[in-house]
C-alpha cells in the first residue's frame, strides 16, 4: 500500500484516493464544432504511458480535493504532486502529441 502525498493533507494511504486517469485533457471549448473522431478521442482515448505520466488524483476520503501528479507507471513512484491552482511544471513536456508519426 503506497503513501500518496495529498498536496493539502500530506501523505496518506492510497485507499483514501480516487484515480482520475490522464491529466490535462481539457473539455473541448465548443464540442458541437469538433468532429466525431476528435470527440471520440476526448471521450475515450487517454494516453497509457509506460513511465512518467501526468495524471489526476482526488483525495476522496480526505479533503475531497483533486490534484495532479507526475508518477512513473512502471515503478509506481510519485515524482511530484500539484494543486490545481499551482503551475503544472511537466504538463506541456508530457502531453506530447502522439499522432505525429501515424500515416
Amino acid at each position: 500500500m503506497q503513501l500518496i502525498e495529498c498536496p493539502w493533507c500530506g501523505p496518506r494511504e492510497e485507499v483514501e484516493f480516487h484515480y482520475g486517469g490522464q491529466a490535462h485533457v481539457p473539455y473541448p471549448d465548443a464540442p458541437a464544432e469538433v468532429s466525431d473522431e476528435e470527440w471520440a478521442h476526448y471521450v475515450f482515448f487517454r494516453d497509457n504511458t509506460k513511465g512518467r505520466f501526468a495524471e489526476r488524483w482526488c483525495h476522496s476520503a480526505g479533503c475531497r480535493r483533486w490534484f495532479n501528479a507526475i508518477r512513473d507507471t512502471a515503478t509506481y513512484r510519485f515524482e511530484s504532486v500539484h494543486r490545481l491552482d499551482a503551475p503544472q511544471p511537466h504538463a506541456t513536456e508530457l502531453a506530447r502529441s502522439r499522432r505525429s508519426t501515424a500515416p
Partner: protein
C-alpha cells in the same frame, strides 16, 4: 511415550512441564518451548510423511520455516491444513498428522478472531538475531520509535542455536539483557512470533503475529488468534538471517538427512539429539560447528566429509576430538528405507566422483553454504547479484528506506553481524535526521576465525545409476536433477520456464531451499553464469498466511457497512423485509401476518392509489449546491435547463456521462437564486457528488459554486395517494395545501412544533403526493405524527417494491434497472428533458454520433402479456418469431429485454417495461418472451400505463 533423544539437560525448554500431544495417532510428550518437530525428534521420529508424487519417506530436514520435509495437518484444537512441524509450537492436546499431499479444511467455520493493527515507527527491524538486536538497540537508544519483529517464539535467532559467547557469557544472556533493555524503552514495540511476510512501497511491511496458537485450547476467545500488523516505517532494517543450502545427491531425501545448522538448533535450543551416529557433509566451514557440538553432546560423528580438496582450518579441532575428516570427498547417496542407515562417501576431485564406501549413520548432516534471506528486500524491488564465492544471491543495491544487515547481507560472523547491525541502524537514523545514540556499546564477541573459502557445489554427480531421478532439488514437489535436465533438454532456457516445467518452487516452501539450487544447476547444465540465469521472482507472502488472518475483522456483519436511516428501528419493529440497495438496507415491503410479498405489495399499491401510503425515501442522495454560479454548473451537468427554474419550484433532471448515456436522475429544488437542493438516486448519491466536484474543481474552477452532501441531514418521507392532502393538511394546518396554493412541483418551508419542515409536491407515482423533509433527529416523531394523522385514511407504509410498481405503471425509469449504461434520455422517451436551447451540456455532443441516430436503438416501452396472467421475469429477452410461429434456430435475434415487471393492482394484470429495438415504432405489435420454455406473447405499448393524462397528480 518416552523421549529417548532428549538430552539430559540444556535447551530452552521448560522441562518441569510436560505436554501431551498426538501425532499420526500416537501419543507423545514434549515441553513448553518445543516445536512439534523437536518433540518428534526427541521421540526418535524423523519421518513425517511420504512424498507427494513418489511416496518416498520424508522427514524433518531443517529447524524452521525453510524445512522442505515436515508438512503436517493439524486436527486439534482446530483443523488447519499444511503447516510445518518445525514451526508449530507444541501445546497440550495438539493432534496432528503427516501430510503427503493435500491439506484438509475444516468443515465447520472458524470461530477464532483475527484482527489487524496499524503501527508507525521510525525504524522497523525485522529479525531479532544478533544483527537485528544490535540494530534495534541502537535505534531504541536514540529515542526513535522502533519496532522489532521476529518470527520465532523468543528473540535471539542464531544465538539460541549455538555456543557463542558475548561479553564472556553465553550469548542468550546478552539476548535477555537486550530484550529487557528494549522493554524499558517506551517507544519500542517488540513482537515475537511475528513474521514479516510482505514488504511494499514507502516502508510498508506486513507482519503476522501468532498470538494464541501456542496456547492451544487455553487460548482466550476474546483475543485475536492472529494479527496482521500493518507496519509503516520510515526506515526498514532487514535482519532476517540466512537459510542453509543443501547439496543435492542421490537419495538425499531420506529421513535422517538434515541441514547441519538445523541439528545445532535442535541440540542447543530444544535439547534434542537428532541422531546417535552422524556423518557431516559440507562444502564450507560452518558445518564443523555442528560436528563438534554433536560430538560433545554424545553423538558419534563418524566423519566430516568436506568436498573441498584442502579442507578446513577446523579440521585439526575435529581430529583432536577424534572426528575423522575426509577432505576432497562427497556424499554420493544414502542407504536405508525409512531412515538413513548409511551415507555413501566417495572421493571427489575436479568434479569427478571416485571410489567410495558406505559409512553407517542414522543422521546425515548437509551444508552447501548459506542463502541470505533476501525475500523482503527483493519484494521491495531490490535487485540481487550472484556472489561467486558464496554461491548465493545478495542485495545488489541500496534501497531508499530499506537496508539489509547481518547474514541476510552476507555477513556470517557474529562480531561482524553485531557491528553491521549497529552500523546499518546508525545510518538509518542519520538518514532520518535522528541523532544516533552516544552510548551504544556492542558486546564483545570472540575474534572471528577467518573461514576457508567455501566450495560452491550444487549437486554431486549421480553415480547411483538413477540418472538424477533420485537427486532431489525440491522435496515438496518431488522434483529432481533429472527433471531439470529434461526441462533443459526440452529447449527451455528461462529459469521461469524451468520452474514451470519441473514445478520446482511452487509448493508450500515456495523454493526456500530449492530456488538457488535450481538456478545453479540450470546454469551448470546450460554452461552459462548463474547471474545470467537469475532467480525466479520472490513474491509475498514470505510464509503462508491464513485467509482469515487477512480478512481480519471484515467478516460477518462487519464485512461491509450497513447503512440505515433514522427510521430503521421502526422498520424492523414493523416487520419490514429489507432489500440491499448499495450499502443501504431499505424496507422492500411490510408483510402483515400470513402475507407473502405479492399480497403485501398489491395491498400497499392499492393503498397508495386509492388512499394514502408513506415511504421512507431518506436514502435518496441529497446535495446542497450553493454559490452565484450554482445554476451555471447545473445547466452544464443536467440535460435540461435548470437556470430557468423559479425559486420555490422543483424540476426533474437527467444527468449523462460524456458518452451521452444516462448516469442518474432526480429532482432539483431551487431554494434561492444561488442555492439548490439536488435529489439523486440512492445508489448514485456518492457518484453524482463526485461527478459534480470533478467538473467543478478540474474543469471549471472559475465557477463560484460549492457542493455539500446532505443525504443524512434530511429524512424524506413521500406521502402518496389521493388522501395525502388530508394527511399533510392535518399535520401542517398552517400550510395551504390546496392545489392552487401549493401546486405540483413546488415546495414550501414550514414548521412542526417549532421544528423546520420542508414540503414538496413531487410525485414518483403519478398520484397526488407530498414529500416531507425533516432533520432526522425528529424523523421518527414526524413519521409517527404522519401515521397518526393518516390513520383515519388507512395510511399504509410501503417499501421499495411498491414504489417500483407505482413508478413503473407511470413509465418512470429507474436508472440502473431500466438503464444499463447504454441508454440515452431519448431512448427513455425523455427528449422533453433534453434542452434544445442550451448550446452544450455534458453528453450533448455524443448524441450526434452515428450510433445515436440508429432508428433501431433500444427504446423504453411497455409490455402487456396477452394472457393477462404471466408476470414476465425481469431480464427476460424479447424475440420475434418466424412467420410460421416458430423460434428461429440459434443464434436467435433478440429485440431487447424486460427491465421491470410487476403485477399491477391498478391494471388488474401484469405489465412490464422493456428496452426494445425501435420500440416506439413497434407499439401495438405483438412480440414474444421465452419464459420457462414457452413463448409468451406480449403486446408492445407506450411506457405510461396508468393515468396517461396525468389527471391524478393534483388529487
Amino acid at each position: 511415550m518416552t523421549s529417548p533423544f532428549r538430552t539430559a539437560e540444556g535447551g530452552r525448554i521448560d522441562r518441569a512441564t510436560t505436554l501431551e500431544f498426538t501425532f499420526d495417532g500416537q501419543t507423545h510428550t514434549g515441553h513448553p518451548g518445543d516445536t512439534l518437530a523437536s518433540a518428534l525428534l526427541a521421540a526418535g521420529r524423523h519421518q513425517i510423511a511420504t512424498s507427494i508424487k513418489l511416496g518416498r519417506p520424508r522427514g524433518i530436514a531443517a529447524a524452521w520455516a525453510e524445512d522442505p520435509g515436515g508438512l503436517v495437518q493439524i486436527e486439534e484444537p482446530f483443523p488447519e491444513p499444511m503447516l510445518l512441524a518445525t514451526t508449530v509450537e507444541l501445546h497440550d492436546g495438539l493432534v496432528a498428522h503427516g501430510l503427503p499431499g493435500q491439506g484438509r479444511l475444516a468443515e465447520i467455520s472458524d470461530s477464532a478472531r483475527y484482527d489487524a493493527v496499524h503501527h508507525h515507527v521510525d525504524v522497523l527491524v525485522v529479525g531479532a538475531g544478533p544483527a537485528g538486536l544490535a540494530a534495534a538497540l541502537t535505534a531504541a537508544r536514540s529515542g526513535a520509535r522502533v519496532a522489532l519483529v521476529d518470527d520465532q517464539s523468543e528473540a535471539g535467532g542464531s544465538l539460541l542455536a549455538g555456543t557463542d559467547r558475548l561479553d564472556g557469557a553465553p550469548a542468550p544472556e546478552w539476548v535477555a539483557a537486550a530484550v529487557a533493555e528494549l522493554a524499558g524503552h517506551p517507544e519500542v514495540l517488540h513482537l515475537q512470533r511475528t513474521t514479516a511476510f510482505g514488504s511494499y512501497d514507502d516502508g510498508f511491511v506486513l507482519a503476522l503475529e501468532r498470538r494464541t496458537d501456542h496456547l492451544g485450547t487455553a487460548a482466550p476467545k476474546h483475543v485475536s488468534r492472529q494479527r496482521v500488523w500493518r507496519l509503516r516505517a520510515r526506515s526498514v532494517v532487514v535482519a532476517t538471517g540466512a537459510h542453509e543450502r543443501p547439496v543435492v545427491f542421490s537419495d538425499n531425501d531420506r529421513p535422517g538427512t538434515m541441514l547441519a545448522g538445523a541439528a545445532r538448533t535442535f541440540l542447543h535450543r530444544y535439547g534434542v539429539l537428532p541422531g546417535r551416529e552422524a556423518v557431516v557433509f559440507t562444502t564450507n566451514d560452518s558445518a564443523y560447528d555442528a560436528a563438534l557440538d554433536l560430538h560433545r553432546a554424545g553423538v558419534r560423528v563418524q566423519a566430516v566429509v568436506d568436498a573441498r580438496p584442502v579442507g578446513s582450518p577446523r579440521r585439526e579441532e575435529c581430529e583432536r576430538a577424534g572426528i575423522r575428516v575426509l577432505s576432497g570427498a562427497v556424499v554420493t547417496g544414502t542407504q536405508g528405507v525409512e531412515r538413513v542407515t548409511h551415507a555413501l562417501v566417495a572421493r571427489f576431485a575436479d568434479g569427478e566422483v571416485g571410489a567410495g564406501s558406505a559409512i553407517a549413520c542414522d543422521l546425515l548432516l548437509v551444508s552447501g553454504g548459506w542463502n541470505p534471506a533476501v525475500h523482503l528486500f527483493s519484494q521491495a524491488r531490490g535487485r540481487l547479484r550472484y556472489d561467486e564465492v558464496l554461491g548465493a544471491f545478495l542485495p545488489a543495491e541500496e534501497l531508499e528506506g530499506l537496508s539489509v544487515t547481518g547474514a541476510a547481507a552476507g555477513v556470517f560472523d557474529l562480531a561482524g553481524c553485531l557491528a553491521d547491525g549497529q552500523r546499518v541502524a546508525r545510518a538509518a537514523l542519520t538518514a532520518l535526521a535522528v541523532r544516533p545514540p552516544g552510548e551504544d556499546r556492542l558486546p564483545t564477541a570472540p575474534e572471528p576465525v577467518t573461514p576457508a573459502a567455501p566450495l560452491v557445489l550444487w549437486r554431486v554427480p549421480d553415480t547411483s545409476g538413477a540418472g538424477g531421478h533420485t537427486s532431489f532439488v525440491d522435496l515438496q514437489r518431488d522434483a529432481t536433477v533429472a527433471d531439470i535436465e529434461r526441462a533443459v533438454g526440452a529447449g527451455l532456457r528461462s529459469i521461469e520456464h524451468i520452474k514451470r516445467y519441473t514445478t520446482i518452487g511452487t509448493a508450500h516452501d515456495q523454493g526456500k531451499t530449492s530456488g538457488v539450487l535450481t538456478s545453479g544447476i540450470t546454469a551448470e547444465l546450460l554452461g552459462i553464469p548463474v547471474q545470467a540465469t537469475g532467480t525466479t521472482t520472490f513474491r509475498p507472502p514470505y510464509t503462508p498466511v491464513a485467509f482469515a488472518a487477512l480478512a481480519g475483522r471484515d467478516r460477518g456483519r462487519l464485512f461491509d457497512p450497513e447503512r440505515v436511516t433514522s427510521l430503521h428501528d421502526w422498520h424492523v419493529a414493523a416487520g419490514a423485509v429489507f432489500e440491499d440497495v448499495g450499502q443501504w438496507k431499505r424496507p422492500r415491503f411490510y408483510p402483515r401476518p400470513g402475507e407473502g410479498m405479492e399480497a403485501a405489495v398489491l395491498r400497499e399499491c392499492v393503498a397508495a392509489r386509492t388512499g394514502v401510503g408513506i415511504l421512507d425515501g431518506s436514502t435518496l442522495g441529497k446535495i446542497d449546491v450553493q454559490g452565484p454560479d450554482a445554476a451555471v454548473l447545473l445547466d452544464r451537468l443536467y440535460t435540461n435547463m435548470i437556470s430557468s427554474l423559479k425559486v420555490g419550484s422543483v424540476r426533474y433532471g437527467v444527468m449523462c456521462g460524456v458518452d451521452g448515456m444516462v448516469i442518474d436522475d432526480g429532482t432539483v429544488l431551487r431554494l434561492a437564486e444561488d442555492r439548490f437542493l439536488l435529489l439523486t438516486t440512492t445508489g448514485g448519491a456518492a457518484k453524482v457528488l463526485d461527478w459534480m466536484e470533478e467538473w467543478a474543481q478540474t474543469e471549471w474552477p472559475d465557477l463560484r459554486v460549492h457542493c455539500t452532501s446532505v443525504t443524512e441531514q434530511w429524512n424524506t418521507f413521500p406521502v402518496v395517494g389521493p388522501r395525502s392532502r388530508d394527511v399533510i393538511g392535518a399535520v401542517f394546518p398552517q400550510v395551504d395545501v390546496a392545489n392552487e396554493a401549493f401546486p405540483f412541483m413546488t415546495w414550501r418551508d414550514t414548521t412542526l412544533d417549532g421544528v423546520p419542515v420542508r414540503l414538496a409536491r413531487i410525485s414518483f407515482s403519478g398520484e397526488l403526493a407530498f414529500e416531507v423533509y425533516v432533520n432526522p433527529w425528529y424523523g421518527v416523531a414526524v413519521w409517527e405524527r404522519l401515521l397518526g394523522a393518516g390513520r383515519p385514511c388507512g395510511i399504509t407504509p410501503y417499501g421499495t417494491e411498491t414504489m417500483h410498481v407505482l413508478r413503473a405503471e407511470k413509465g418512470y425509469p429507474i436508472i440502473g434497472q431500466d438503464t444499463d449504461g447504454t441508454v440515452t434520455p431519448h431512448d427513455l422517451g425523455m427528449a422533453w428533458a433534453v434542452s434544445k436551447k442550451k448550446p452544450d451540456f455534458v453528453g450533448k455532443r455524443s448524441f450526434a454520433r452515428q450510433a445515436n441516430q440508429d432508428p433501431l436503438r433500444k427504446q423504453l416501452v411497455g409490455l402487456l402479456p396477452v394472457d393477462r396472467r404471466t408476470v414476465l421475469p425481469e431480464g427476460s429477452q424479447i424475440v420475434e418469431l418466424h412467420p410460421d410461429g416458430q423460434l428461429p434456430p440459434p443464434p436467435v435475434p433478440m429485440l431487447g429485454h424486460v427491465t421491470s415487471s410487476y403485477r399491477s393492482a391498478e391494471l388488474a394484470r401484469p405489465f412490464a417495461l422493456a428496452l426494445v429495438k425501435g420500440g416506439r415504432s413497434r407499439i401495438g405489435d405483438t412480440v414474444h418472451v421465452p419464459v420457462d420454455g414457452t413463448l409468451v406473447p406480449v403486446e408492445v405499448t407506450g411506457s405510461v400505463l396508468v393515468d396517461p393524462e396525468g389527471a391524478r397528480r393534483d388529487g
